[in-house]
Each structure stands twice: as structure tokens, then as C-alpha cells.
Amino acid sequence: MDGEVKRSVRFAVVSWPLFVAALVVAPVFISNDYMLHVLVLIGLYAILAESLNIVVGFTGQFSLGHAGFWAVGAYVSAILMIRLGLSFWTASVMSMLAGYFTGVLLGLPAMRLKGDYLCIVTLGFGEIVRIFATNLEVTRGPMGIPGIPTPQIGGFSFDSELSMYYLCWACAVVTMYIAARMRHSRFGRALMSVRDDELAAVSLGVNMTYYKVQAFGIGGMFAALAGSLYASWTTFISPDVFQFSDSANIFCMMILGGLGTIAGPVLGAFLLAGLPEVLRQFAEFRLIVLGLLMIILMIYRPGGILGSYDTAGSTRQVRRRKIAREV
């Protein structure tokens, strides 16, 4: 095996178990439900940001409508559970399928568009989903859907914050892991090649249309999973939960943490979903502080907090190698 892989394997061998262990142990030190509640929310945002990362960070397709998939997942899961009495597990798998097909459906018209135009189409998609939810009968319009059952397995019910914490973060870790593995597969490399240079990718036999559509599908699928978890966690959903501001927020998490990295979006979720809670006593200044933070970060680390790691890391290596050669 070569150096790059060895290094990344060594890094992965240490970082993954550490991260998972920290997540497992964390509730021991956090006894109050409020903190756990915030952590569950961070976990859901982590799934959302990570799934958006597959579309934007891996494939380079800008999407400002990610909350739309989140809503699709939440509504499909809630409706299936309440109307058809399905269990959470079946309903969430079905909602993931729905998220996937919605993603493919959005991907089909979106694949011909780039940059600003794509942004507008995806933004429109997010709004369309919200407006559908507001006006359809099956979603109960603006009244929303109350009384969504919590997940149950055997006799155990995930009705405490602690149990939902573990469930949500288990899903988040699986999403992260899949995203991480994706980069080492033919599929993931095809996505990244489309991001870096479409024409070159096509000249190597990459069916660009297929991969763009698939990226939207897979991104939509995991966002729907987050939606399904969200619905059962809060037991109530309504159209105004899934606003454009959420799409923008998820987008910011991904950019802030590091576009195209695995840990970046999760870090972004911690910062952007966690900081507002920490800064709650400065409620009025919260958004100003966050905005300033974003601006400063984008000036000094345009690739995101972890995003520059790759490039900085490799230039540092090159520099080190050069020094070694000179010595």
C-alpha cells in the first residue's frame, strides 16, 4: 500500500473509534435533558449536512433546497405511521426511498444546470415541497401532523432524549461512514471527477447524467432519514419547520466545516446548531456573531475549517519534502 492510503488508514483507525467512543460516553457527563436535546438536534443536522455534502462537496452540484428532502422524509414517515400504522423502522425505510426518488426527480431537470441557475432550481424545489405540505389535505396543511409515534423495538420505546440521542447519532455515524467509504469507490471517484472537470470525466467514460442524478438521489435519501427521525423525535411536524432558512443553515454548516470532507459537515453542525444554544443569553446578538464568524472564516479559510486540511496538508508535505531534499 502507498503512503497516502497508509496515512489515511492510520488516521481512520484512531479517529473513528475515538469519535464513536466520545459519542457513547458523552451522556454520562451530560445529565440534563436540555443538553441532550441539543445534541440530538446536532446529530440530525449532522446527517443533513453530511448528505448535502454528497451532492455539493463530492459532486459539485449546488443545492439550496435540502430542507425539502428533510420535509419529504418527515412527512412520508409521519403519514405512513399514522395513516397506515406502520412501525417507525418500515416507515423510515420507505421515507428514505421517497427521499431517493424525490432526489432523482429533482436531479433530472437539475443536471443540465450549473451554478446560479441550479441554486435557483433547488431553492424552488425546497419551496415547492413546503407549499405542497401547506396545501395538501394528507399533510393537514398549516396545522401540521401531531402525535407521531416514537420508534419502538420489542418492548423498548425510544421516548426519552437519551434513547433518541443514541438512535440519531447511530444514524449519523452510519451516514458519515458511508460517505467516507464512498470516496474510496469507483462511484465516489466518478462523483468527484464530475465535480472537478465534467468534460474530462465524460472523456474517461463517466456517465455524467447518471452520477449527477444519483448524487441527488443519495443526498435526498439520507436527508429523508433525518426527516423521519425528526418527525418521531418531536412527534409533531408542520410546514414552517422546513423553511428556506434551514436549507441555508445546512448549507452553511457544510461550508463552514469543510466542503467535501467527512468530518467537516459534522463539525459545522456542532458549531451552527450548538453555538446558538451556547450563546442563548446574547439572544439578540446571536445572529450578528454567527454572521461575523462566517465572514471571518470565509476570508481566512475559504475551504472551511477542515476543508483546507487537504490542501494545506499536502502543500506542507511538499514543503517538507523540498526542505528534506535541500538538506
Binding site: 502507498d2 503512503g3 469507490s185 469507483r186 471517484r189 472537470d197 474517461l204
Partner: protein
């Protein structure tokens, strides 16, 4: 594997970029496509590479019609290309660039990468070994972990050619491979192109402006001017061809040379 260009025409709006151009590329040939600016070389090149569809005429590979196939299937027909303004995957490493070039040959689905099946491990290992072999051959092995965008221009060129080679396509289309290279680099390029044909048995079709490179490496030339094929033959004959001299330097000069 013979690549045939049969009576290809291409019209952009009212501009006739190519009219009725025919020639064939025999297996194992190094064929150069030359002509003054605006002659239609790049248009023809793009038609062969599948970027444009011809207005009339056909492209065939061993009798199989390619002109209406989507671009990404060219690799399956054993045609690979490089670009005039190098198109690497800048944010991937040198090694990742090469392995991405094997896209059409790898078989493992994403699910196998997630569960790290033995088939996936073997495929990744084999493709890495194969990529490293090629990188050794072209002197880029030491750069394998560097991002493609951090390479100097000349090495980016070589990397792009290597990426096209790893597809195992029989026909290699090179679009102005010597553009922007210095003398040392283009001499190296000439050696590489020869090696690609002699040692790897590939067929090469190149568009090029640098006459030094053309005369050194090509065994046969096709000359275009204003969308029309005006000459075809060996470089030494082309050099004396009156129509070619006229196209490049004007009639007056052609008369003075006295062809």
C-alpha cells in the same frame, strides 16, 4: 482497429467548419492533423472524440458507427483523449487521477466499498498497482500523493496522457499535446508518444501546432484548410506540397519557393 472518418461535414449556423473530410487512421499509426488557425482541426477532433455530432458523414471504428453515440461511450469503443487546455481533476491526487481513469474497467459497486468485500479489496489493490506501473514508466511515481493542481505544467501534461493511457484504449487522441511546453519538455513528449506506439502498441491521432514535434513524431499528416482536406501524406512530402505552403504562408510565398 481502424478508425474511419467518412465525408464528415460540420456546420455551425452559417459557418461551414468542415466539409466532406475523409481519411482513415490505421492501427499503430501516428497521424498528425495540422492546418492554419481556423482550419477545423479542433472541430474534427471533437467530432471524433464525441463532443460534437457531425452535420453529415460518419465516424466508424471497425465498421461500427460512432457519430450518434453519447460522448461517454467513446471509452468503450477504445478511444481516449486529452485536452488542449489540460483537464485534470485538480483536487484529486495524481494517483486518484489515474485510478479515476480506470472508471470504465472497474466493476465493484459502492455497496462493496462500504462493506470492504474481498472483491473490492482486490480490485482496488490491482488498480493501484497498475496505476503505479504507469506512473513509474512516465516518471511521476514520486508525485503520486500530490494534488494534480500542484504539479508543474509539463508534468500535468504527462499525467493527462497517462490518465488516457490507463483506460487501455487502442486509439489515443492528443489535442495539441506540446502546447505550452518548453523545448526540453516537448522533446520528452516526443519520446513518450513514440513509446506509447512502439511499446504499448497504441494508435495516436494528434492535433498540433508545433511543427518540430509534428515532423519528429508523425508518420503521416492530414492537412486541413478552411474546413477542407487539402493534403495527406508523409511529412517530407507535405513540406513540399504547394497547396499546404499556400495555406500557411500565402500564394506569393508559395510561388517564390517555386513548388
Amino acid at each position: 482497429m481502424t478508425l474511419n472518418i467518412n465525408a464528415v461535414s460540420k456546420v455551425f449556423g452559417g459557418v461551414v467548419a468542415l466539409s466532406d473530410v475523409s481519411f482513415s487512421v490505421e492501427p499503430g499509426a501516428i497521424l498528425g492533423l495540422i492546418g492554419p488557425n481556423g482550419a477545423g482541426k479542433t472541430t474534427l477532433f471533437n467530432i471524433v472524440a464525441g463532443v460534437f455530432k457531425p452535420t453529415a458523414g460518419s465516424i466508424t471504428m471497425d465498421g461500427r458507427h460512432l457519430e450518434n453515440e453519447p460522448n461517454y461511450l467513446r471509452i468503450d469503443r477504445s478511444i481516449a483523449r486529452t485536452f488542449q487546455n489540460i483537464r485534470l481533476f485538480p483536487n484529486l491526487t495524481v494517483l486518484q487521477n489515474i485510478v479515476t481513469g480506470m472508471h470504465s474497467k472497474l466493476r465493484c459497486a459502492m455497496i462493496e466499498a462500504i462493506f470492504r468485500t474481498s472483491r473490492w479489496r482486490k480490485e482496488e489493490r490491482d488498480s493501484r498497482i497498475r496505476a503505479m506501473e504507469l506512473l513509474e514508466t512516465f516518471g511521476l511515481a514520486g508525485r503520486k500523493d500530490d494534488l494534480a493542481r500542484s504539479l508543474p505544467y509539463g508534468e500535468q501534461r504527462i499525467l493527462e496522457i497517462t490518465r488516457a493511457l490507463v483506460t487501455d484504449s487502442n486509439v489515443l487522441l492528443l489535442d495539441e499535446p506540446a502546447a505550452g511546453l518548453n523545448n526540453v519538455e516537448s522533446a520528452r513528449l516526443v519520446d513518450f508518444i513514440r513509446m506509447i506506439r512502439d511499446k504499448m502498441g497504441r494508435t495516436v491521432l494528434l492535433v498540433e501546432h508545433d511543427m518540430n514535434v509534428i515532423m519528429k513524431v508523425c508518420e503521416r499528416l492530414v492537412v486541413l484548410d478552411h474546413g477542407v482536406k487539402i493534403a495527406e501524406g508523409e511529412p517530407k512530402d507535405i513540406q513540399k506540397n504547394k497547396q499546404v505552403i499556400e495555406a500557411y504562408l500565402g500564394r506569393k510565398f508559395a510561388d517564390e519557393v517555386g513548388c
